[in-house]
Symmetry: none
DNA sequence: AGCCATGCATGTTTATGCACGTTGTTATTC
DNA sequence: GAATAACAACGTGCATAAACATGCATGGCT
């Protein structure tokens, strides 16, 4: 009754992953009535496109929280908003701030104070689009080749461009945060960009949801001592925070989401 | 009653795709009682027009859900889409194209051919956001201070950035077009940017709605002879077009919007 | 005549399933 | 708690069939 188009199946799987669903190879095989091999091929293709994480038995959505457009993941959204609201309180009037890639920073645009005469720089297309709608903010876009996974510019040109800036406060899109290893990222270029960003910023703020605390990624970005302020959720385990406080970071706890 | 004139079939298929339906080649062949080859030819034509995505087994609508920019184009939407659809046909495979600021160029992103291996550069935030959702396109963002009126980067930094590029085809957001005065713009920096853009592009395409023909703006951008192709609406007065044709521009008329 | 949509024949590409050997996970045993 | 057995999931190579692009011939139409 229903005809099947191969690529359509792959799109359906991609959609589910983008919505934050995990998928099981065997289940998909039965559902679409193809062999598990075909499903595995799909998942492999999606994984190399960076659209999911391959695991034994199936695939998971792009790690806890890092996805380009799927920032609207139900519950995660409210948590991120609470985090963003808290982070926005660290901003002082007339500052020059930088918003790095990441869905949490996208949420932050909503809470930027209205009459603070802020100038905002970013390398993220989505964040730029959000800031552009705010007529009270000045916006500087960092250009370059756009990394489709990250959704922003992290190439050599982008790195060069931010070295021209004097940033008061940067908000680091945290891919992974560990008490021992500091901040790390999944993409090589992204990590290099973040390192340079830190070097041209007077203060740095890191927003970390609880599920990102005590996680690591391949590429090191910053040590604990480089973090001026760590914003965490209300339920962040105190044990994790000590190492950061010891290194000199101020810890800011967000209000619990309603 | 059941007699079909050939082109009607292609329109029916296009309609279904526009409604968000996926189509299967074999099913269509049976339904219209033609060979699958004929159907494939249709789908190929529609795909190069940017009206669907070609996949193994059939074709999928260009975006299964909705195009967020479509709403923002607002007034004149259908006219701009017709214009954009026509302009997209000038694009050749593997080209490096530049989309200048402007709502018409935003509409153009919807019709960029799917399988053409294009690289797209732009200085517009909204266009970048639209192109970013197309996973088949490579995207280069031109950065700089964002002009809130224009919605893109047109400052000295942006001008400097595009001098690094070798563009095959640029689509100029036409603010005003006159048979005598050529293309002109309302913003000083924007005009300067467009001039530089022209100088680094092999060919230039200008999209002009009928109401923009024979209008002028303060800052000159280009003379008629600098325009390789002028895309106009079906109801463009022929008198206006002669001057451009004489200067060497090819004139492309869009189909009337249904 | 020319034009154009179509159908058919050709060779090519793509997706799939199966067989094979390998790797990762779990259970069991000492 | 470490070693090992048992099993499921995995990746790869290969064969097959479907879908594909292209060239050419046909027939209707202006």
């Amino acid at each position: 009754m229903s005809e099947q188009i191969p690529m359509a199946r792959r799109d359906v799987i991609a959609d589910r992953l983008a919505q934050g669903q995990a998928v099981v190879a065997a289940t998909l095989a039965a559902e679409f009535d193809v062999s598990e091999d075909a499903i595995r091929r799909d998942l492999r293709a999606l994984a190399t496109e960076g659209r999911c994480r391959r695991v034994y038995g199936g695939a998971l959505p792009i790690t806890p929280g890092l996805s380009p457009m799927a920032a609207r993941i139900g519950e995660g959204r409210e948590r991120k908003r609470a985090l963003a609201r808290a982070a926005a309180t660290t901003i002082k009037p007339a500052e020059f701030i930088f918003l790095d890639n990441g869905s949490t920073n996208l949420a932050l645009t909503e809470f930027l104070p209205e009459e603070a005469e802020l100038t905002v720089a970013t390398n993220s297309i989505d964040i730029a689009a959000a800031v552009l709608r705010r007529k009270d903010l000045r916006l500087i876009m960092i250009g370059g080749a756009v990394n489709p996974v990250v959704g922003g510019c992290v190439d050599a040109g982008a790195v060069l461009a931010i070295t021209q800036l004097n940033i008061d406060r940067c908000f680091l899109g945290a891919c992974a945060v560990s008490p021992k290893g500091g901040v790390s990222a999944f993409d090589l270029s992204d990590a290099a960009f973040k390192r340079t960003l830190l070097s041209v910023s007077r203060e740095s703020v890191v927003l970390a949801t609880t599920d990102k605390l005590d996680t690591r990624a391949p590429h090191r970005v910053a040590a604990n001592k480089d973090i001026a302020c760590l914003v965490v959720e209300h339920d962040a385990p105190a044990a994790q925070l000590k190492a950061f406080a010891k290194a000199g970071a101020s810890i800011l706890k967000a209000e619990p989401p309603r």
